[in-house]
Symmetry: C2
Subunit: 277 residues, 2 copies
Amino acid sequence: MSPWLLDGDPADSVPITDRGLHYGDGLFETIAVRDGAARFLDLHLRRLEGGLKRLGIPVPARGRLEAEVRQVIADCAHGAAKIIVTRGTGQRGYRPPPAPAPRRIVGVTPTAPAPRQHYSRGIELRLCHTPVSANPVTAGMKTLNRLEQVLARAEWSDPDVAEGLMLDVRGRVVSGTMTNIFVVRHDRLHTPPVHATGIAGIMRRVVLDQAGSIDLEARETHMTAADVGAAAELFVTNSQIGIWPVRRFEATCFAPGPWTNKLMQRLAAIGVIECAP
Amino acid sequence: MSPWLLDGDPADSVPITDRGLHYGDGLFETIAVRDGAARFLDLHLRRLEGGLKRLGIPVPARGRLEAEVRQVIADCAHGAAKIIVTRGTGQRGYRPPPAPAPRRIVGVTPTAPAPRQHYSRGIELRLCHTPVSANPVTAGMKTLNRLEQVLARAEWSDPDVAEGLMLDVRGRVVSGTMTNIFVVRHDRLHTPPVHATGIAGIMRRVVLDQAGSIDLEARETHMTAADVGAAAELFVTNSQIGIWPVRRFEATCFAPGPWTNKLMQRLAAIGVIECAP
């Protein structure tokens, strides 16, 4: 059976006229499936709904999406569920149809847990050449326009490098190709703002929310690659991985950091089990 | 019969796993069909091939794409043919598959000719709020990441306004939502460069090439919306329309211009028949 549902029905294809394909006219969510449950599903659906409103795409009923996610993950213990909502089919041209009929695409891919060393030792992070573009109109959203991330991820094939850092065209740090980035400096937690570019990640949100519970002040701060290299602690986040400490960024090495460890313990306590020591 | 071919076979859908849908990981071309022929097909295919090389997507054999375009337009006198090439299906995540099997999507939509007044009187152009992002890595290409253009085109529904002008985030003119823009000032032709953002349009290329034949010096020049308003002549171009003079941009009105008329006559002479008086 296909692991995908199209508007609630099993499907292995989408209409060739879909605006998601033609223009990237839609949004997606990637949700961690752990022990058969969709983690932080409520946060994902709220972000999706907020984004669809910004794009003027009608918001599917929440209960319907929840039911479709539950259906596709029924036989999946550990994986990545994906929800795509597109503006559906319209007439030729960029102009959105006056009454769009959005399409829901829901599926799941079983995944293996990330290597334990990614959590215990940390990962290697490289600096990507491909910049991220900035646009306040689409900033923060997980749109289907992800070609920049694809090109950045195509820059390396060394399996020892788990992630690449992307800058905007002015040289400011935005994020990893698939993660958000956090640095600790002077006992404060910093991550780049997402109002001009980047993605308002769910795990980014969770980390910012949890920082207070360990008395770690958190701020949105512009930073350069040099600032990242000068950090006391450095880690990346996303919904599938929780937190990966960074042990090396280009030529700079980092020891496991106490704040990162505390945050990982907090996350493990609220369900991000892969962050447990 | 479906007006679409997928990898050469009639199809009305694409695999739900296609990276064109998930990431906008591909390119497209929109080719004018006039009197049953695909206009400037060679220029379109050359641009497509150059873009696919930049993206690291294997280039389909030219003869195959030509044959597929001929097949879909066989019964179409006047329309818009479309070629999409995506990176096909890969494993989960942004990373491109090491040996991608690209997908070819070729179809045609019959169209009515644009209103004659668009050529004789000119069009109304508005200024869009939605900016265009800049990224040298994707600049110039007609990628499947077109959400900014969709959002800009969604800003107005007044049928008297045919096009909207888009600026980059720094306030510099980039293009229309679906056209390139040209201004004439002091008997020189100017259009914004496309190395940092924008699309290297086929009709833009043709106009730049033809300007010399009427002794009109052409330059790529950065400009602001105020520069556009201060132009002696103003017009927009794309493959489907040729040249549309602009008779009004926001509050500023323009009379039909001699250079624009000469360029339209040149274009008509080389096959852009809709530009004939």
